[in-house]
Amino acid sequence: MAQPETAPPQTAPAPVPAPVTPAPGVRIDGLTVVYKTTAGELPAVRDVSLTLEPGTITGIVGESGSGKSTLALSLLNAVQPPGRIATGSVEIDGLGDVVGLAGERLRKARGAHIGYVFQAAQNSLNPLKTVGKQLLDLGRSHGVDDLRGLVREAKELLGRMGLDGARVLDSHQHELSGGMRQRVGIMLALVLNAHLVVLDEPTTALDMITQANILKIVREVHAERGLTTLVITHDIGVVAEVADRLAVMYGGRLVEQGPTREVLGAPRHPYTRGLIQAIPRLVGDIDEARALPGRPPTLATVPKQGCVFRERCALRMDICETDDPAALADGPRIVACHAVGVKERA
């Protein structure tokens, strides 16, 4: 099953040229998603506002339990009970507020407008059906009349990603490698011509060379098809390679966002700084890498009031105990931290 391995991402994520088809913009405003537990309803995502500019790639970085996957599912209005979107809106160009969508309209929107590549897409295929059969199922459930055209489009997409389309469509998932399955996942998300694509952990469980290849494909397909792309990951390296804009999530809050290079080069929120400092590097003094003390909160241990990060924060002040810092904008950068605010006013 050899196919050409394309170049690993080396060039910086360049601003995307004018898209062929208008990519949709997305405006998430004041979104709160709660899960019902024995301790009452607890917020997994709390008061998150995030704008995805048309034609950009945004990366959301967070640890397990930070709420990043819940946030991504909200884009499809697909948060499953016991979870529910409590407040806020998700406005998508051409669709309106998806929080208000339901039933058939919501089902049509998923797939046709929003493509979603699920976490562990490698394992989300039906083991009993060939990829081609699953593609036809997808087409039928979305009322596609021209199924031949759909297959043609699928082959073209697979070919674009360096695979032999006809052969892949005839294969069962066990005949495909992890990297190939991931590409099938991307194909299924795009084949109905969605222009908003969400990739949840697109490279987890892939090794380095395959990861580099997938990231390059994500970037190229994004530019060629004129997409708005959201990448969810725990790996800063992944967003550093693909994203124009980076948003950092912690304990259900977006603590920092801004242009990727600026955030990585000069992180402002203590959590972002700590995360970057905790990455072991290939050159230089290895003792410069420092572990973040403490551990990330879970749904049950997220503080009910005050800053979500204060337990692990070196810059902690009295106000952090009581007041949740607001996300304040400074040009393209947005930071939610009392200490950063103080420093700038001083």
Binding site: G179, A240, P296
Partner: protein, 336 residues
């Protein structure tokens, strides 16, 4: 001191259309680790690095070659006789969620191996209790709060520490850590790596580190040796920093080129190497195992297998007919 010489292992497919097909997982691997030393194996999935770790830990059999533990060769021994030797080598698995029994408290989890150790060394029940608290403290956990808990009450990072503590109960000389941090939250990873590094220094425990993340290998043992393994053959080996800074084998260069660049902090290397195809185990090879994917192959590479060797002007051992230094890794931007 643990020494492995010429370890080979071939898996035969059973049943199905591929029956009888052989996969050479290891094709003669040599290495040795001294007390408190470190060695890291890097490579793609399917390159044999996990099989090697399992063989060294005594969990998997080998076809050829020899493992010597403190000078005692294992091959002549019966499985039962090998056990006390392999006790000295303990495995830390990738997934701390499945490595601990969810129905047992941490206290119960530690008691089983401690009871064994107490029998072997003629120690008392009192010693077992003390030792349980001691190994937990060694891995940075508070025995008072952890002993009575169940695994689900601990975070991933704490669970991995418990797994390491359990390994320490039998006084190992070496830990085999197979992707030991890849399932741990990013902010907690460095803590586990620092712990392994610390155990090397404080207890003189050697670490065999198996990973696809070169930077973590460097963190645990920048004084140790780095082995780059491809389809069961070590294709490059040398001091960690030397291999990272001056790789000469195109496969090593491909692996290092694929590491994401932290744009804003780093700039990409100048001569990235990209393999021509992806890994395909099913094809028979006549020459160099990497030749089909290698952008620099020559005719010789397709007919003759290069062996690990030392050549003039090359800082580390390599298995390549055309070794050439290339600048592939990302460099920190100046002024950041």
């Amino acid at each position: 001191m643990i020494t492995a010489t010429g370890i080979t292992r071939t898996f035969k497919q059973r049943g199905g259309v591929l029956a009888g097909r052989e996969v050479k997982a290891l094709r003669g691997v040599d290495f040795s680790i001294a007390k408190g030393g470190a060695a890291s194996f890097i490579g793609e999935s399917g390159c044999g690095k996990t099989t090697l770790g399992r063989i060294i830990a005594g969990l998997e059999s080998y076809d050829g070659g020899e493992i010597a533990i403190d000078g005692a060769p294992m091959t002549p021994l019966k499985p039962k006789q090998r056990q006390p030797h392999f006790r000295k080598i303990q495995m830390i698995h990738q997934d701390p969620y499945s490595a601990l029994n969810p129905t047992r408290t941490i206290h119960q989890t530690l008691q089983a191996p401690l009871a064994l150790r107490a029998r072997q060394t003629g120690r008392s029940k009192q010693w077992m209790e003390e030792r349980a608290a001691e190994v937990l403290s060694l891995v940075g956990l508070d025995p008072g709060s952890v002993l009575s808990r169940y695994p689900h009450q601990l975070s991933g990072g704490m669970r991995q520490r418990v797994v390491i503590a359990r390994a320490l109960t039998v006084d190992p000389e070496m830990l085999v850590a197979d992707e030991a941090v890849s399932m741990i939250d990013v902010s907690l990873r460095l803590g586990i790596l620092a712990l392994l590094k610390d155990l090397r220094e404080r207890l003189g425990v050697a670490v065999l580190f198996i990973t696809h993340d070169v930077a973590t290998a460097r963190y645990i043992g920048d004084d140790g040796e780095l082995f780059v393994i491809y389809r069961g053959q070590v294709v490059e080996r040398g001091p960690v920093d030397s291999v990272i800074a001056d790789p000469v084998h195109p496969y090593t260069q491909s692996l290092l080129s694929a590491i994401p660049v932290l744009h804003g902090l780093e700039e990409p290397g100048e001569q990235p190497v990209v393999p021509l195809e992806s890994l395909d185990e099913s094809r028979a090879d006549s020459g160099c195992l990497f030749a089909r994917r290698c952008p620099f192959r020559s005719e010789r590479c397709e007919s003759e297998l290069p062996l690990l060797q030392v050549t003039d002007g090359v800082p580390q051992e390599h298995a390549c007919f055309h070794p050439e230094r290339r600048s592939v890794i990302a460099r920190p931007l100046s002024g950041v």
